[in-house]
Subunit: 123 residues, 2 copies
């Protein structure tokens, strides 16, 4: 993409997809694969991450509420302050599986698990 990918306040969707994810200790734990946007408000609802190797549970998709991701310029990636145990027990689904995206209860389950401020109450 021949456009700017990042400024102090803005970042391109292409730069986010594929970005590395670290834990609070700075360990490389995974990658952001995709984002799910709320059509109405245009807010990023979930970052879809994979943590395969780190968790040792095979390739799974973990939806993470966007507010939990903190961009770290030094690491050039996102930091999520979550333990391996927290992620292992978190909502996740296999490749090819639909966890129930069409039902808002799934988003509520994800946001509830992480105790994140609900995106659907914004704006």
């Amino acid at each position: 993409m021949d456009v700017m990918h990042e400024t102090r306040s803005l970042i391109s969707a292409h730069k986010v997809s594929g970005a590395k994810v670290y834990n609070a200790a700075g360990d490389d734990i995974g990658v952001i694969r995709e984002m799910m946007l709320d059509k109405r408000s245009g807010v990023v609802a979930h970052a879809i991450m994979t943590f395969g190797g780190f968790l040792g549970i095979g390739e799974k998709y973990h939806p993470i509420p966007w507010p939990l991701l903190k961009y770290d310029t030094g690491l050039d990636g996102y930091v999520v302050d979550l333990t391996g145990a927290q992620l292992k027990a978190a909502p996740a689904y296999e490749a090819g599986e639909d966890p129930g995206w069409a039902n808002k209860t799934y988003s509520e389950q994800v946001y509830g698990y992480y105790d994140a401020p609900p995106y659907w109450e914004l704006s």
Copy 2:
């Protein structure tokens, strides 16, 4: 991406990038190439579109405020209710050119041109 790409309320970033754009008359006028997200709030600030052939002005990047894009399931793309004249006079930049993304004044200029509700006043 082996994840759901769209539900009634959610849509994946991958599905948005590359989506076709139509005018209110249903003419195919361009493509969404990229999105710029506000890092803090996670809201889509701008959709970056190209309208090359339609406008007859060569390949340019047009940042469009997200609230102006309406998804149309029948067309499987986005509708923007803007005339060719409006788009020709709109903020745009050439490939490889930085219009000034690092300055909020550029976002203000874009949102001002389209008279869109400022994303930086949300949440």
